[in-house]
């Protein structure tokens, strides 16, 4: 009678344990299978850049700032490239200091170069410090069909045809230079993130979920308990099977 009770209890606990962890067991089996075949499934090539996931992993999305000129956004992508809207147009050492438009030419002043662009955003040519762009250039401003380059100590007039710089007799305070950059709108940021932003591979996420690390120390502890429960489940299962055999023999 006593033994029949203990057999019953064993089966009840076996069922309870099985029911309580069966979802986790299925997940562990599937994720383990996926990790075993990760190279074939190319899980390490699948990048996830969901903002919730990135913040969960403590990765910051870079804040890209730029300038809106007419209907175009000009910005440095955080990877040394000047973008006009969605198109990379020229190398650009950050920061993008200033932009201006004069007589159908867009100008973008990066830390080490001045880029001349057509009004539809194509690069005409670049004028760099090697071409004697002043090292301390900090802003550009268009006024009266001329482009002025403002340095810490002087204002220079820039000729886009000859790429020559001449001292200009104009006060920098009277020039309206666009130097205050604004955060780039979300639709452009999304495209940037897809191409160059921080991301986490699907393989890493599955591995962290499989081990419980995804939920920190608590998750690891849960997975440890699940591992222990799997052992208990196998033992109770084995006992149930042995008892079944005994009953059949009797």
């Amino acid at each position: 009678m006593k033994s029949s009770n203990s057999v019953k209890r064993n089966i009840i606990w076996h069922r309870r344990l099985g029911l309580s962890i069966f979802l986790l067991l299925i997940f562990l089996a599937i994720s383990g299978f996926a990790l075993n075949h990760s190279p074939a499934l190319k899980l390490n090539k699948i990048s996830l850049s969901n903002s919730w996931l990135l913040s969960w992993y403590g990765l910051e999305k870079p804040l890209i700032k730029g300038f809106k000129l007419d209907d175009k956004w000009l910005y440095e992508n955080g990877n040394n490239l000047l973008y006009v809207d969605r198109q990379a147009v020229a190398p650009c050492s950050p920061p993008l200091l200033s932009v201006a438009k004069s007589t159908n030419i867009l100008y973008a002043l990066c830390a080490d170069s001045l880029h001349l662009l057509t009004d539809n955003g194509q690069l005409l040519e670049s004028f760099s410090q090697l071409d004697e762009l002043p090292v301390n250039a900090r802003a550009i401003s268009a006024a009266d069909n001329s482009l002025y380059l403002i340095t810490d100590s002087a204002v220079l007039e820039f000729d886009p045809d000859s790429l020559a710089l001449q001292p200009a007799e104009i006060d920098s305070a009277s020039l309206n230079a666009l130097t205050a950059s604004l955060p780039v709108p979300e639709f452009l940021m999304q495209q940037l993130e897809e191409n160059t932003g921080p991301s986490i591979s699907l393989e890493t996420v599955i591995l962290d979920l499989h081990s419980g690390r995804f939920f920190g120390q608590f998750g690891v502890l849960i997975m440890d308990i699940v591992g222990l429960l799997i052992c208990i489940l196998s033992i109770t299962g084995l006992f149930a099977w042995i008892n079944r055999l005994r009953q059949i023999k009797q």
Binding site: E125, S126, E132
Partner: protein
Amino acid sequence: MFKNLFNNLFNKAIYTGLLTITLLASPQLSARGVYQSGPDFIAEVFTPQQPEAGVLWFNDNIREQAEKILGHRVLGLRVRYHHSAGKSAWILNEIGKEMPITIGVVIDQGKISSVKILAYRESRGGEVRYPAYMAQYQGATLTDSYKLDKSIDGITGATLSVWAVNKVAALALYYHSQVASQPQ
């Protein structure tokens, strides 16, 4: 006695350390740098003459051929050069491994008369700027397949920089041929 021995060993260790650091750092220190500005290079090439500045605008054919020579997209809609009496000087950028190398190429009567590295930004491979290497380009012309007609000896450890200089030299020859064929 032990004190002297210890001092000697300590001094030797310091000297060896400093020598190692110097040797390790020297290729990097010597590789990177701006060696000459564009206007200085032009002035040096044409002195005592005063060169004229010119602009070569890219049409579809020029762009296509330039992209074939470089093996990648060409940025910009025009390229600037200086010329005087059949001689033209071009300052072009091309990426070696990761950073652009600024290269000045002088073409005289359809042949390369000199090539010079004006700025080198990679940490290794700066040996391409040595005159003995650059002298190999002298007299090179463009073949029908838009390659240099001279074989240029490579430099171990600077392969990508050598390729970059080769491409720029061929490109400058091509640009020169386009300028020469255009009505002035």
